[in-house]
């Protein structure tokens, strides 16, 4: 067989290599170096972390290619970057830069309120957010090779990350016990492709890697998500909006590996300095919630 690139197996495979790891938001090459030294498995290159996007308001778009390239040149680990939901030209640009993963992200201002990108058409892999199983399976149907539960980005409040992870993982547990004749009606009800519903039932998990994101700020938050059953974590504002980013980043990496060992979790949580100043999700007006972008 001739060499094949851009297959679904290699797209999904990179996410499998990231499992048990922490993907960190970085806004400069210096941040990227700190993240790599702390043990990040990948970095997400962007101009502003979600907490600042939230604070600044305005339209949030794909980052400057120059910044992304600088970060790609600085670290040896994979570099991810975000595009607006539905903005396939931003994705084409990132593909031409050679970024390792594209995040079609609700953290940026959506470019299309009806359609997400047709991701099977690209050689580079995509990660997409979800709040429930139907949303996850629709994204996989469009070609997402990795899923992250959305949480509520830029808040430092883990409550939505927990809600979305429980929603997806709980639905899969119920699906596993569902008789086959109920699958078609179930697929219709959650608006998901039947074949992928069936595959998820057979596997007892999503057919692609599933990370948690949105509001994680402490080692305990990362371990909580891992114990709930996700494959790894994204930490956005939680690291570089804290008092001592390098130490906190390293502690979250250790907590993600030893998520089931409370003695180690206690040890890595000690003397970490100030966490990011959080914002309770229940205090945020409905219109400012990020997770409801996309469908």
């Amino acid at each position: 067989m001739e060499k094949q690139v851009g297959t679904f197996a290699v797209k999904k495979g990179l996410a499998q290599m990231l499992k048990g790891g922490v993907i960190m938001d970085v806004v400069t090459a210096e941040h990227a170096r700190i993240a790599e030294d702390a043990g990040a498995v990948a970095v997400m290159a962007l101009e502003r972390v979600p907490a600042d996007i939230r604070a600044d308001g305005g339209v949030a778009r794909m980052s400057d290619p120059g910044l992304i390239e600088e970060i790609m040149e600085t670290v040896s680990i994979p570099v991810m970057a975000k595009v607006r939901i539905g903005h396939f030209v931003e994705a084409q640009i990132l593909e031409s830069l050679g970024v390792d993963y594209v995040d079609e992200s609700e953290v940026l201002t959506p470019a299309d309120e009806e359609h997400h990108i047709y991701k099977h058409g690209f050689k580079i892999p995509f990660v997409c957010g979800c709040r429930n199983l139907g949303e996850a399976l629709r994204r996989i149907g469009e070609g997402a090779a990795m899923i992250r539960t959305k949480g509520e980005a830029g808040t430092g409040d883990v409550v939505e990350a927990v809600r979305h992870a429980r929603s997806v993982l709980g639905a899969i547990r119920r699906l596993e016990n569902m008789p086959d004749e109920e699958l078609m009606a179930y697929a219709k009800n959650i608006g998901a492709p039947f074949e992928i519903v069936k595959e998820t039932k057979e596997l007892g998990r999503l057919p692609v890697v599933n990370f948690a994101a949105g509001g994680l700020a402490t080692p305990a938050d990362a371990a909580l998500m891992m114990q709930l059953g996700v494959d790894g974590v994204f930490v956005g504002s939680g690291i570089f909006k804290s008092g001592d980013p390098a130490q906190r980043a390293a502690a979250i990496v250790k907590a993600t590996t030893h998520f089931n060992d409370p003695a180690i979790l206690a040890d890595v949580s000690r003397n970490l300095g100030e966490p990011m100043v959080g914002r309770q999700v229940t205090d945020i007006p409905e219109a400012e919630l990020i997770a409801k972008r996309g469908w």
Binding site: M1, E2, K3, Q4, V5, G6, T7, A9, V10, G13, L14, Q16, M17, L18, K19, G20, G21, E36, D37, A38, G39, A40, V41, A42, M72, S76, I77, P78, E95, G98, V99, D100, Y101, K123, I124, P125, A250, V253, K254, T256, T257, H258, D261
Partner: protein, 194 residues
Amino acid sequence: MKIGVLALQGDFIEHVHALRRIGMDSSEVRLPQQLDEIDGLIIPGGESTTIGKLAIDFELMEPLRAFGQDKAIWGTCAGAIFLSKDARREQPLLELMDITVERNAFGRQVDSFEVDLDVPALETVAPSWSPYHAIFIRAPLIESVQKDTQTLASLPDGRIVAARQGHWLATVFHPELTSDDRFHLYFAEMIRTN
């Protein structure tokens, strides 16, 4: 016989599943004392910098080197880098196997690929020959092998992608991502005859 899988980071569950398919007992290794219970160790794919850093933080470097002196170790991708004597850059390595590796040798993710390989050594565990379908993800390359290290597989252009030195095995691709378990059978056989 029990095979451990280093579970600091990476696709260790995929290895555990492959071992289960071939009827092997396995256990996840995160701390030094867990090495005492196993007869051989797989270091999975993942990010080699992350795995190296966690191995230092949890004081696994010397116990792993001591384990490797007489027990079998197999590294896939990041694991192969970690097992090597030289990765041509500053990063923590076990420095056991006499191979020189080059990280991300094929380029970035957009260059990751699948290809069929000819691996004659697998005929010892599966007598009827068939090509081995290999998945390379941001893969390193075995730039050169030294001392008594044997090449087990190469790309058509001659570049080395799998090698063995006594009880150490390195593959820069990911047998754990496919349902072809011949490399897992081969490694189990290495442990048995070690």
